[in-house]
C-alpha cells in the first residue's frame, strides 16, 4: 500500500511540471505587460520602466525566464509576487484556511443533499420524488454559481437582512457561499448517487440480503450503499479538490478571502508568479485529493485493495 502511495506521489511530479509549463507560456503571450500594470497611474519614465523590467527579470528571453522559474520551482520556490513583493507561497498559505473552510462546508452541504436524494430517487425510481430529485439535480448542475449567489444575496442579505452579503467571519458569513457552492456540486453528485444505486440494487447479492430477512434499511445502507460509493466518492472528491484550488466565482461574489480570489486578483493585475503559483497549487490539491480518493477505494472494496498491494 505504501509503495502504491509512493508511486502515485512520484507520478505527481510530471503532472505539476507540465501544467506549470503550459500556464507559464500562456501567460507570457498574454497582451498584458506586467510592468505597465505595476506602474499604472504613476506616469513612469522609460528609464523607470526599463529598471522595473530588469528587476523582475522580464528583460531576459522567455526561455531563460522559463528555466529560471522552473529551477526555483524544483527547489520549492514559487517566486515573488510582483504586486506585494512577498513570496507567492506565503500569500497562498495566508489565504488557504478560508478556502479550506469554504470547500469543507460546501462538501458537507453537497453530501447532505445528494446522498439522501440520490438513494431515495433510486429506490423509488420514476416516482414523484424521483422526478423532483432529478429536476433539482438538473437545476443544480445548470444554474450558474454567480446567478445563484446573487439571488441568495438579494433574498437573505438585501431583502430579509438575515445574513451578511459578504466578507469573512463566523458561521453567518459562511452559510451563503457554502450553500451556493454546495448546491452546484450536489447536482452532479445526486445524479451519480442515483445511477450508481440503481445499478447496485439490481444485483443478485441484494436479493441474497433480502432473503436473509434483513430490513430494507440495512439492505440499502449496509449492502447497497457501500458498493455504490465508489463512483460517488470519485465525483465528490474531484469537486472537493477543485474547491480546494479556489472557488473563484463564489469567492469573488461573496468577497471571500480565499485562494480563488488571490488568483483572480493576480490575473487582473498581471501578477504572473501569483497566477502560476495558484494554478500549480490547484494541480497539487486536485492530485492529492484524487490520491486520497484512490486510497479510500481500498477501504470500500477489498478487491481494489488486493490490486494495490500487488
Amino acid at each position: 500500500m505504501s509503495r502504491y502511495i509512493f508511486r502515485r506521489v512520484l507520478q505527481l511530479i510530471p503532472v505539476i511540471l507540465g501544467a506549470s509549463a503550459i500556464i507559464f507560456f500562456i501567460l507570457s503571450y498574454s497582451t498584458q505587460d506586467p510592468v505597465m500594470m505595476l506602474l499604472a497611474g504613476t506616469d513612469p519614465t522609460p528609464e523607470q520602466i526599463e529598471m522595473t523590467r530588469q528587476q523582475l527579470g522580464l528583460d531576459k528571453p522567455i526561455v531563460v525566464q522559463f528555466f529560471s522559474y522552473m529551477g526555483g520551482l524544483l527547489r520549492g520556490d514559487l517566486g515573488v509576487s510582483y504586486n506585494s513583493g512577498r513570496p507567492v507561497f506565503q500569500e497562498y498559505i495566508a489565504r488557504f484556511p478560508a478556502t479550506l473552510k469554504l470547500a469543507f462546508w460546501a462538501l458537507f452541504v453537497s453530501v447532505l443533499i445528494s446522498i439522501p436524494i440520490g438513494i431515495v430517487s433510486a429506490i423509488k425510481q420514476y416516482s414523484w420524488f424521483d422526478n423532483f430529485g432529478m429536476t433539482f439535480a438538473m437545476l443544480g448542475v445548470s444554474t450558474p454559481n454567480f446567478w445563484l449567489g446573487l439571488m441568495l444575496m438579494l433574498l437573505f442579505a438585501v431583502k430579509l437582512g438575515w445574513l451578511p452579503s459578504g466578507g469573512y467571519g463566523g458561521l453567518e458569513y459562511l452559510i451563503m457561499p457554502a450553500v451556493t457552492l454546495g448546491t452546484s456540486q450536489a447536482g452532479l453528485a445526486t445524479r451519480m448517487t442515483r445511477s450508481s444505486m440503481l445499478e447496485v440494487i439490481r444485483q443478485d447479492y441484494i436479493r441474497t440480503a433480502r432473503a436473509k430477512g434483513l430490513s430494507e434499511r440495512v439492505v440499502i445502507i449496509k449492502h447497497a450503499l457501500k458498493n455504490a460509493l465508489i463512483p460517488i466518492v470519485t465525483v465528490v472528491g474531484f469537486q472537493f479538490g477543485h474547491a480546494l484550488g479556489g472557488a473563484m466565482i463564489t469567492e469573488t461574489i461573496f468577497s471571500w478571502p480565499g485562494v480563488g480570489r488571490l488568483m483572480i486578483d493576480g490575473i487582473h493585475k498581471g501578477d504572473r508568479p501569483v497566477v502560476i503559483g495558484c494554478v500549480i497549487m490547484l494541480c497539487i490539491m486536485v492530485s492529492v485529493v484524487n490520491l486520497g480518493v484512490d486510497i479510500f477505494y481500498a477501504f470500500l472494496d477489498p478487491r481494489i485493495k488486493a490490486g494495490y498491494t500487488k
Binding site: 444485483q203 443478485d204 447479492y205 436479493r207 441474497t208 440480503a209 433480502r210 432473503a211 436473509k212 430477512g213 434483513l214 430490513s215 449496509k222 449492502h223 457501500k226 458498493n227 470500500l300 472494496d301 477489498p302 478487491r303 488486493a306
Partner: protein
C-alpha cells in the same frame, strides 16, 4: 399429490403476474404444490416456465413493481404467508425459509467478509452477539467443508464452488425448516456440481430439512428428489413421485424432456428436441399452452385449458389426451 396433514408447504392456486409496459407477463398461472415435511420436491421446467417466480413467491420476494401475486394462498406450516405483514415476513426469511440462488459469482456481497455475511443472518434471527455470531459462522463454514479461518476472507478470494458452499452456509446458518435451492449447481463445473449436490443431500438429511430443488436437470431430480413437478408456461403439467414421473411418464411435455436427453448406451439414437419454443408469456396460446408444440394435440387442446387430473394417488397430469380411451405416449424406450 395426496392431502397430508403434515405439510410444511401447501400452495394453492398461486397466480403471479408481472405487469409491464409491454403487457402482462403471466409467469405463474394457478400452481398447487403440497410438500410433506422432510421431503424434497423437484421443480423442473425450461427457462421462463415460472420456477424462480414460484420460489420467490414463497419468500414474498417477487420484485414489486412489476410483480404482483394476483391470487392464491401459500401456507407455510399451516399459516398463509400472503396475509403476513412485511415485518413478519422478514422474521421468516432466512430463519424458517432460506434460499440458495443460481449464480454464486454474483450472489455474495463483494465488500463484506464471508464470515460477516453468515454471522449477519445469525445475529438477526437469533440475537447472538457479534463474536458469538462470528464463531457460529466459522462452525457453519466447517459444516460445508471450508476451514473456519477463511471466514475473514472476501468472496473474491473463493472459487465458484467454494462460493456456492458459502451461500449454502448462509442459508443453513439458522437451521431453516424449508430450503429452496434455485438451480444451485447450474453455474458450476460438472465435478464441482456433484460435490455441491452431495453436500446438500447430506446436510438436508442431517438437519432434517424439507427442500425444494429447482432445476432443469432431470439427473439432479432423480438423484435428490422424492417428488417432482413439471412446470410449463406457469402451470404444473405433471406431478408425482420421481418414480411415477420418470418410469410412467404421462404428459407429452415431460416425454419431450426425456427425449431431449442423450442416451449413452445407444450411440445411434438421435436426440429428439421438442420442436418450437416456449410461448411468449405475455401472449399465452389459448387452451393448453403446450398444444402448438404437442404431437398429440387435437381440437380440444386449442380451446380448453386442461386441469390436473390424478391417475393413482399421487400422479397428476394436465392433458386432454387422456379423454381418449386407451391413449398412451410413444415414449422412446
Amino acid at each position: 399429490m395426496n392431502i397430508n396433514n403434515d405439510l410444511i408447504l401447501d400452495i394453492n392456486n398461486l397466480v403471479v403476474h408481472y405487469e409491464t409496459m409491454e403487457g402482462t407477463v403471466q409467469a405463474v398461472n394457478g400452481i398447487d404444490i403440497q410438500l410433506p415435511r422432510e421431503h424434497t420436491l423437484g421443480i423442473v421446467g425450461e427457462t421462463g416456465a415460472g420456477k424462480t417466480t414460484t420460489a420467490l413467491s414463497i419468500l414474498r420476494l417477487i420484485p414489486d413493481p412489476p410483480g404482483v401475486i394476483k391470487s392464491g394462498e401459500i401456507l407455510l406450516d399451516g399459516e398463509d404467508i400472503l396475509k403476513n405483514s412485511e415485518k413478519k415476513m422478514r422474521s421468516i426469511r432466512g430463519r424458517d425459509v432460506a434460499m440458495i440462488f443460481q449464480d454464486p459469482m454474483t450472489s455474495l456481497n463483494p465488500v463484506h467478509t464471508v464470515g460477516d455475511q453468515i454471522a449477519e443472518v445469525v445475529r438477526l434471527h437469533e440475537g447472538l452477539s457479534r463474536s458469538d455470531a462470528l464463531k457460529r459462522a466459522g462452525e457453519t463454514l466447517e459444516m460445508v467443508g471450508i476451514p473456519a479461518e477463511r471466514s475473514t476472507e472476501y468472496p473474491h478470494q473463493f472459487s465458484g464452488g467454494m462460493k456456492q458452499r458459502v451461500i449454502i452456509a448462509i442459508a443453513l446458518a439458522c437451521n431453516p425448516k424449508l430450503l429452496i435451492a434455485d438451480e444451485p449447481t447450474t453455474a458450476l463445473d460438472v465435478t464441482i456440481q456433484a460435490q455441491v449436490l452431495e453436500l446438500m443431500k447430506d446436510l438436508r438429511d442431517r438437519l432434517g430439512m424439507s427442500m425444494i430443488m429447482i432445476t432443469h436437470d432431470l439427473g439432479i431430480v432423480a438423484e435428490v428428489c422424492d417428488e417432482v413437478a413439471v412446470l410449463y408456461a406457469g402451470r404444473i403439467v405433471e406431478s408425482g413421485t420421481v418414480r411415477e414421473v420418470f418410469k410412467s411418464t404421462m404428459h407429452p411435455y415431460t416425454e419431450g424432456l426425456f427425449n431431449s436427453l442423450p442416451v449413452i448406451n445407444d450411440k445411434g439414437a438421435r436426440i429428439k428436441p421438442i420442436p418450437g419454443l416456449m410461448p411468449d408469456p405475455i401472449e399465452l396460446p389459448e387452451g393448453c399452452a403446450f398444444h402448438p408444440r404437442c404431437p398429440y394435440a387435437f381440437d380440444k387442446c386449442t380451446k380448453e385449458t386442461p386441469e390436473l387430473r390424478y391417475f393413482g394417488e399421487t400422479h397428476g397430469v394436465a392433458c386432454h389426451a387422456y379423454d381418449q380411451d386407451g391413449f398412451k405416449l410413444k415414449r422412446r424406450g
